[in-house]
Symmetry: C2
Subunit: 139 residues, 2 copies
């Protein structure tokens, strides 16, 4: 899996591209001279977590003939203050799944649990450094 990135302005605006030509934009914070032209790199980690779990949940429920009408996710991340080390990790990440559809609640709860505790590779990547919690609101 390869991602190619390049700076596309004279500051911190970075375009990332995958092998299929899908792109996304990142930018540095305004404090250091960024221009607000894309997400911050650490925001991508939260987006990836929401995306990964969504894909799992939709896929698991689809196999059970449970079709969700709408899927929304709020992901909140609290970062540690920058220490002497110079970096700032996520300390707590909360994921709130807001799902709608004519679906079985137990099947939904189980699909979310399977994703968040077993299948989602992004969760497993972020878990060693962040405490990840989640909740589900259905209909």
């Amino acid at each position: 899996m390869q991602i190619n990135l390049k700076r596309i302005d004279k500051d911190f605006n970075i375009e990332a591209r995958n092998d299929e030509g899908n792109t996304l934009l990142m930018d540095g914070s305004k404090e250091i001279g960024g221009n607000g032209k894309g997400m911050r790199p650490m925001q991508l980690l939260l987006a990836a977590l929401g995306g990964c779990s969504s894909v799992d949940i939709i896929s698991i429920l689809r196999k059970q003939k449970q079709e969700l009408e709408s899927v929304e996710i709020e992901v909140n991340g609290d970062r540690e203050p920058v220490g002497v080390e110079g970096y700032s990790l996520f300390k707590n990440i909360e994921v709130h799944f807001i799902l709608k559809g004519n679906v079985d609640k137990d099947k939904v709860d189980r699909a979310v649990k399977l994703s968040m505790e077993k299948y989602c590779s992004v969760t497993k990547t972020l878990e060693p450094t962040a405490k990840i919690t989640y909740k589900v609101t259905l209909n």
Copy 2:
């Protein structure tokens, strides 16, 4: 830091949005029914790594009056096969910085080292589960 996500088709196309209104698209793999309308969530982790280190490197060198003319990064990630656990982490991630400009090579090498070994919060987040290596090509 909050990211809001929602499914925008009937399959796996997910839009993520930050507080400033910046958006990006993700999609599931074609094998499970995705439509290629965005990056895969695990690809976002590689993009975030390239973006985070780029921001650091540009910022460090700018403070030293070293202005890069162009910044490109290739990030390659090898994933473990999916095991009985159900997930698949990155095993090795290689970052190749391709930099151009009338800049001091030692300052560039030091900026890259500082980012990759000290400052970049994305690197620190991915390091517990993946072996991360890097190299620099200057001019």
